[in-house]
């Protein structure tokens, strides 16, 4: 794991941007939790609260032409990729103006124009897709990175092992980003993994790897930049593990019987948002009014998103069968 404090203190502008990104995710999701309680958002709602430093740091290493494959805990990734908060919120409401036309909900946020390919809710199911996106780039000589986020639960799936092997075998430009929050839903990592050192797993597939403190956004960003540069240079895939922690329940249905409250409290002491604030303040880069300004902007963004979602129309039931095939019921298929 990278040594703490190895990342240089950022510029004031950059520090504020990182803080703003993390707070935007936090405030959006806190509002989502309330809306869930009010029945506005239904189904599963997997909150990223506590893990914001990972997406925030990692997204900084990616360019607009890069592709992203995320999991069902992807609100923050989508937001930072530039999917408008209004389109995200409308999607969670199930409205026709949502970023997936309301068909996906919280777990299936898509924005093909921004090369944001979900929103994938089968654990590890997105890894092969990332390998394929990278393969397409390779076949077309495009120097782009495909970033694939997944949790520690995916480490136990065959697709993780197959995908690392294939990406390394073909030297494909995939940045595998493991958001290790120590639990596969409710099963602690030491109860589902025989080998806890992820870099060793990567070595088994001849893949470069690094582990980073996922509660330190500066460290994540620095590591992600190194990793993305490696991948972009055509060196093959890279596995970056960010050790992090989920402060909230797995989903809204989780009574959290599997972990002690003290453990959660201990990790909350390492909340990445106050941690960055402290770093910036210590360097004299942050004033109270900066935080107030960021909070004001984040609150405005969230409330505008909620208002948009509330005001948005439902898709007419007559459209039920659309977007199953390119044509109604898959008709067509004439000889080309």
């Amino acid at each position: 794991m990278s040594e703490p404090g190895t990342a240089a203190v950022p510029s004031r502008e950059h520090g504020l941007a990182l803080l703003s990104d993390m707070l935007r995710i936090r405030r959006l999701e806190e509002r989502c939790a309330e809306l869930y309680g009010q029945g506005k958002i239904r189904g599963f709602l997997h909150l990223y609260i506590g893990e914001e430093a990972v997406a925030t740091g990692a997204m900084r290493a990616l360019r607009p032409e890069d592709a992203i494959v995320a999991t069902y805990r992807e609100h923050g990734h989508a937001l930072l990729r530039g999917v408008p908060a209004a389109a995200l919120m409308a999607e969670m409401f199930g409205k026709a103006t949502g970023c997936s036309r309301g068909r996906g909900g919280s777990m299936h946020l898509f924005d093909a124009g921004r090369r944001f390919y979900g929103g994938n809710a089968i654990v590890a199911g997105g890894l092969p897709l990332a390998v394929g996106l990278a393969l397409a780039d390779r076949l077309r000589d495009e120097r782009r990175v495909t970033a694939c986020f997944f949790g520690d639960g995916a480490l136990a799936e065959g697709e993780f092992h197959e995908s690392l092997n294939l990406a390394a075998l073909w030297r494909l430009p995939v940045l595998f980003l493991c958001e290790n929050n120590l639990y596969a839903m409710g099963t602690a990592i030491e109860r589902h993994q025989a080998q806890l050192d992820l870099t060793l797993k990567a070595r088994g597939y001849a893949t470069a790897a690094e582990s980073v403190d996922g509660m330190d956004v500066l460290a994540v960003e620095a590591a992600a930049r190194r990793a993305a540069e490696y991948v972009r240079a055509g060196e093959g895939p890279f596995l970056l593990e960010a050790k992090t922690y989920r402060f909230r329940a797995h989903s809204a249905y989780d009574p959290e019987l599997y972990r002690p409250k003290e453990e959660v409290e201990r990790w909350k002491q390492r909340d990445p948002i106050p941690a960055l604030e402290a770093t910036l303040r210590a360097a004299g880069l942050l004033a109270d009014e900066d935080v107030a300004g960021i909070e004001r902007e984040a609150a405005r963004e969230v409330e505008e998103a909620v208002a948009f979602a509330e005001a948005s129309p439902w898709e007419p039931v007559e459209d039920l069968l659309r977007d199953v095939y390119a044509t109604p019921e898959g008709r067509g298929g004439g000889a080309p």
């Binding site: 592709a67 494959v69 949502g98 970023c99 997936s100 036309r101 309301g102 068909r103 996906g104 299936h108 898509f110 924005d111 093909a112 124009g113 390919y117 979900g118 929103g119 994938n120 089968i122 199911g125 890894l127 092969p128 897709l129 990332a130 390998v131 394929g132 996106l133 990278a134 393969l135 397409a136 780039d137 076949l139 077309r140 065959g158 697709e159 197959e162 995908s163 092997n165 294939l166 075998l169 659309r322 977007d323 199953v324 095939y325 390119a326 019921e329 898959g330 008709r331 067509g332 298929g333 004439g334 000889a335 080309p336």
Partner: protein
């Protein structure tokens, strides 16, 4: 020209690779080995290892990679050695390929072709012999085709590649050696309609893939007895050409559905139900089915033959319907 089903598939692959730089072929042993069924022999030498890619035995990941590459605008042809092994990539086919367009609200297309061998008849026992295409035909979001003739083996691939949605092509393993005539200028065919392979007036034999030849053999036998059977080749298992099925049944008023899948919960059950829903009052007899026996395909030849739909059983079912039984 005289050719085989295998050669016809190879011609189609070669043409696709030559015509469109977005097309590539990927799967287990498709390159140096030449394909398990020798379908892709010579293509590696012709098109090189970037476009004819041997994969590790990682069905889920190479099929998923095909999906990802298709999402990015390529036109991959992924070969899964047999449908039996496709269960290792069922997640990618059913949870990704079939759903991405819908889950993304129409933003993500998956123009992918997956070819796989299916079916029994070669004494390769239970884990290499099953016909599971009916399962795939259950899934909205994918198309399922089954070329039963040399012409379709030659022509369906181009239509599948031109389709904006994922298409699964089931090639019956016993057909690869099938010999026949193919027009020199044979080209793409549709993947939309069923085809009447033999017209008749007394009973419709509805078949597809590996059972088409058996249905035609049954029709020959029936003709010698004065029973004129119409043989309908489904060709496309999803979406079904229901109109063609109903039109045939309205002509003959009787139907035998032949399916190498097991009877329970099968494609034959679906065809039978569609006939009941759409042509019940045109029927002179209940729909009959000839399917595989409800047993894993056994190894010994006599038991394998007994487990599969055979021309004699198809003809017998038809005779019962026309009152000659």
């Amino acid at each position: 020209m005289r050719t085989t089903y295998r050669e016809a598939v190879r011609m189609a692959l070669r043409e696709a690779l030559a015509r469109d730089p977005r097309v590539f072929l990927m799967g287990e042993d498709v390159g140096r080995y030449g394909g398990t069924y020798a379908v892709s022999r010579g293509l590696l030498e012709e098109f090189g290892p970037e476009r004819v890619r041997d994969t590790p035995l990682s069905e889920s990941t190479f099929v998923g990679a095909g999906i990802g590459a298709a999402m990015a605008g390529m036109r991959p042809i992924v070969e899964v050695m047999t449908v039996n092994f496709s269960l290792l990539c069922l997640d990618q086919i059913v949870n990704n390929a079939a759903l991405l367009r819908h889950m993304s609200g129409g933003q993500v297309a998956v123009p992918l072709v997956i070819r796989m061998a299916t079916g029994a008849g070669r004494q390769v026992a239970a884990q290499h012999s099953h016909s599971l295409e009916g399962w795939y035909a259950h899934i909205p979001g994918i198309k399922v085709v089954a070329p039963a003739t040399i012409e379709d083996a030659r022509g369906m691939l181009a239509a599948a590649l031109a389709d904006p949605d994922p298409v699964l092509v089931f090639e019956h393993a016993a057909l690869y050696g099938l010999e026949g005539e193919l027009a020199e200028d044979a080209g793409p065919v549709d993947i939309a309609r069923a085809a009447v392979r033999r017209p008749g007036r007394d009973v419709s034999l509805v078949a597809y893939g590996g059972t088409l030849g058996k249905a035609l053999a049954a029709a020959e036998a029936l003709a010698r007895e004065g029973v004129e059977a119409e043989v309908l080749d489904l060709r496309v298992l999803r979406p079904l050409d229901v109109e063609a099925i109903l039109a045939s049944v309205r002509r003959t008023r009787r139907a035998v559905v032949v399916d190498e899948g097991w009877r329970t919960g099968s494609l034959s059950a679906e065809v039978s139900a569609r006939i009941m829903e759409g042509a019940f009052y045109d029927l002179d007899a209940p729909v009959a089915r000839v399917c595989s026996a409800e047993v894993p395909i056994p190894y010994p030849r006599h038991l394998e033959e007994a487990a599969l739909p055979q021309p004699e059983a198809i003809a017998a079912a038809a005779r019962r319907l026309v009152g000659h039984g």
